[in-house]
Amino acid sequence: MTTLNINGELVRVDADPSTPVLWALRDVLGMTGTKYGCGVAACGACTVHVNGQPTRSCVTPISAVVGQKITTIEAVGNGRVGMAVQAAWIAHDVAQCGYCQSGQIMSATGLLETNRKPTDADIDAAMAGNLCRCGTYQRIRAAIHAAAKSLA
């Protein structure tokens, strides 16, 4: 039994310590907002925050994050930055199929938490790990700039 701090709550997870955070969230805890896309940290769909840092949950065993603060898409909107990013996502109608967008929002929020005026190059660097097969990148970029503006 592993105890994790997820979205500010201590949660007991009955799973092998090697279990990635992704599968603890989805299969054990029923929190399906965090998505599986590749399992090898190549697509970013599974991105969560660990102590505020965007982290690929598909390659992060639960044993590695005991005692650390995990934030998922279900709660990122409780913070001012996450809420601004979600609002910009809706206002810009960013999503198409939407499957990658949890991860995109987590990465974008991570960026804006540390950089309130990201340049296009900053966005490239922060978002390059998040794939979108629908090709919504243009609106993702616009939404990040808009969220940054709304936080200024």
Partner: protein
């Protein structure tokens, strides 16, 4: 379509247009207990089969609602399509809500399950494909909305003893003089009204919702992680299954040892099952994905090579080259004798690799079996076919299988499989699981890993084209001899009869045979049998034909000393292709085409029609790190009337990135001795934020009935990029992806 044409002609008028309801018997209104109204649609096919008497006796409420007006005046609208990003979930409710003037903020939408009522009104099966959702349901959804309005208004007029013509609607309310009532308040009385024999459709000038940009109805759910995809299905007692397939298509298990795999905590069962294309594999059922994956990694399986055990990409290309010298079938004939007078030739050999669709949500389906019935939950794009396939696998009748359509995380063709490969395999696993476990069995979600997806076949087929354009001394084309070699997409599928004509698979010749440039064109085709499963990939045959035709157009224009835009426009004018002209002119005008670009940049142009819509791109391209880099793309689009401009723009922007992927090194599937060489996003690499580019999308204004937009943005981007690249390098690359030396 006659009524539509009439309505179209009168679209400027300020009166509502009459539209007869041919199938009024199939519409039915039902009052809901506690207030509210449901409008259902009885499928003509089912009704005809059952007979009129049986139809009349059918109990209410009907299980196939399209719209439900609730007691709180919210309106639920069911969409007869899969939504996997293309926006049908929002656009079809826009059509329905328009006629009764529903308050858009009160509209909610859902995906319809498999059911006869939800069959495509043109295709006759329930499916999503060919960029047809709006085009085929343009009248249907407005008609249902108009019936709702007519009956609500009739109920109000009765109650108030006023003339129907004195009633107006707006914001979900009927008004007449000092009277007003919400739809919810009128619902019960409306349900008792007779279904009208004809309804009046609004003229275009009165549209309040259609033509206005509306955000996706599930945008908020999506941005907060609440939207549920097929893969998010969770049921009490549900298990997760993974399947170990053979390394070659159709390969079979010789033997397997599950001792170590079974020792993983949470693994419930491991057993051999049938797989696609006559193969066998080993299924692992576990309490979750992680134990199932750990167990699968520990399985020891020895394999017998399957039907696909000998295919290698390099030898395949060589065999296609041979096949191109003696093509099998004539698709389009033209006398080639004028070629004897040529002073020069342009063209050459073009090759295209296999491509995976790689939607972000890997394939999955959840099965729950009961005695004599089954429920399957999946992001199905072919509900009628998939329901039948699952039923057949389980030994049930289609009507004993309830198929619940769940939103899908992309598809791009991979969820529209004539063989229902992943649903048959999944149903087979579920059947074996229930048989083996008896009373202890519960629902099972069968999942694909990303590796399963990339290696799993059903690729856009590899193709080889050869083109020999014989030119005179002024660059005029005397003869255009075109050959295509590639696997048929539909041979051996239920679509064969519709899509293969005289031995030519129309999904391969599309994009050439239309011959929009009026060329002296002969097209010959060979469909080799190759043991690699293939499938349509967003925009289908146009993924390769547009590249050849549009890069060749530039070459021929250059040979004639003409500007590539002027050359195209001249030929469009000669052939009366006004929509092509309008789209191209718009892209050219808005892009600043021909103006000065920074050093090392070049303009590229291409235009192509597919699925009834024309998309032209003008791109500004340079070479960065040995790859083409698009700095700005401008799209001119002719898709007739655009129902949801916000979503339509997104479809073109996304399709441009999707099509651009074809040019990028690393975006190809190759085989060696039957084994797929790629398996992940690390070696099959779609574009990322760093390769993405802005696309300015402009629509040609039109009031004609809408044409497709899910796919038409794909074909023209790769040739536009290649045309710019040729200007930068002076060399023509005819092999995709584009590898610069």
């Amino acid at each position: 379509m006659d009524a539509e044409r009439v309505a179209q002609r009168l679209s400027g008028a300020s009166v509502r247009q009459a539209l007869c309801i041919d199938r009024r018997n199939f519409l039915r209104l039902t009052a809901l207990a506690g207030g509210g109204l449901v409008i259902s649609w009885h499928a003509p096919i089912a009704a005809a089969a059952a007979g009129a008497a049986a139809e009349a006796a059918k109990p209410l409420p009907d299980p196939n609602p399209f719209v439900r007006i609730n007691a709180d005046n919210t309106v639920d609208i069911l969409v007869n399509r899969l939504d996997f990003g293309q926006g049908a979930l929002t656009a079809l409710p826009m059509l329905l809500a328009e006629e009764p003037d529903v308050d858009w903020s009160q509209v909610r939408a859902g995906l319809a399950p498999a059911g006869d009522a939800y069959k495509d009104p043109v295709f006759g099966i329930q499916m999503t494909g060919g960029s047809n959702a709006i085009n085929h349901s343009w009248l249907q959804y407005r008609q249902i909305g108009a019936v709702a309005r007519a009956m609500l208004v009739a109920a109000a007029a009765d109650q108030w003893t006023v003339a129907v013509s004195s009633c107006t609607t707006g914001g979900g309310v009927v008004r007449s003089g000092g009277h007003h009532a919400t739809y919810a308040a009128l619902a019960e009385a409306a349900a008792r009204q007779p279904v009208p024999e004809k309804v009046l459709l609004k003229p275009r000038s009165q549209f309040k919702i259609i033509g206005k940009g509306k955000g996706r109805l599930d945008a908020a759910a999506g941005a907060t992680g609440k939207k549920k995809y097929g893969i998010d299905t969770r049921l009490p007692g549900m298990m997760v299954a993974l399947l170990q397939r053979a390394p070659t298509f159709g390969g079979q298990v010789a033997s397997f040892d599950a001792t170590r795999a079974l020792a993983i905590k949470g693994v419930r069962d491991i057993f051999q099952v049938s797989t696609d294309r006559g193969g066998t594999g080993v299924a692992i059922v576990a309490e979750g994905y992680w134990p199932a994956k750990q167990a699968r990694d520990l399985l020891q399986v020895t394999w017998k090579a399957g039907v696909g055990g000998t295919v290698s990409s390099d030898t395949l290309l060589a065999s296609y080259r041979d096949a191109a010298r003696s093509p099998a079938v004539l698709a389009l004939d033209h006398d080639m004798s004028a070629a004897a007078g040529a002073v020069r030739h342009v063209g050459g050999e073009y090759s295209f690799p296999y491509l995976a669709h790689a939607p972000m949500e890997p394939l999955n389906a959840t099965f729950e079996l009961k005695s004599g019935t089954a429920t399957v939950m999946a992001g199905s794009q072919f509900q009628t076919i998939d329901q039948g396939a699952v039923a057949q696998t389980l030994g049930l009748k289609p009507e004993q299988v309830q198929l619940i359509t769940l939103p899908a995380g992309g598809g791009f063709g991979r969820r529209a499989v004539p063989s229902s490969d992943y649903l048959r395999e999944g149903a087979g696993i579920a059947k074996a699981w229930y048989e083996r476990q008896g009373d202890k069995a519960g629902p099972v979600k069968v999942m694909w890993s990303r590796e399963d997806d990339i290696r799993g076949g059903y690729y856009r087929p590899a193709h080889l084209h050869t083109v020999d354009a014989a030119l005179d001394d002024k660059g005029k084309v005397l003869a255009w001899d075109h050959v295509i070699v590639g696997q048929s997409l539909v041979k051996g599928t239920p679509f064969e009869g519709f899509l293969i004509k005289n031995g030519v698979d129309g999904t391969m010749s599309e994009g050439v045979v239309e011959n929009v440039y009026g060329l002296p064109l002969r097209l010959r085709i060979t469909h080799p049998d190759v043991a690699v499963p293939v499938l349509w990939w967003r925009s289908v045959g146009n993924t390769h034909t547009a590249f050849v035709m549009e890069t060749m157009a530039d070459e021929v224009a250059q040979a004639a000393g003409a500007d590539p835009v002027a050359w195209r426009l001249d030929r469009f004018a000669a052939g009366s292709h006004e929509r092509h002209s309008a789209a191209l002119r718009l892209a050219v005008k808005r892009s600043g085409y021909g103006g000065k670009l920074p050093q090392g940049h070049a303009w590229g142009v291409a235009v192509h029609e597919s699925f009834g819509s024309v998309v032209a791109y003008v791109v500004d391209v340079s070479i960065v790190d040995g790859r083409p880099r698009v700095h700005q793309a401008t799209a001119g689009v002719h898709a007739n009337l655009v129902v949801n401009p916000l979503a339509a723009e997104a479809q073109v922007q996304g399709a441009a990135i999707f099509g651009f992927a074809m040019t990028q090194p690393g975006f190809e599937i190759t085989l060696k001795d039957g084994v797929v060489q790629q398996s992940q996003f690390t070696d099959f690499t779609p574009p990322r934020m760093t390769e993405a580019f802005p696309v300015a999308v402009h629509f040609v204004p039109s009031e004609d009935p809408p044409t497709g937009l899910g796919e038409p943005g794909v074909p023209a981007i790769a040739p536009a990029v290649a045309n710019a690249l040729a200007k930068l390098t002076g060399k023509r690359l005819r092999k995709l992806p584009l590898v610069l030396a």
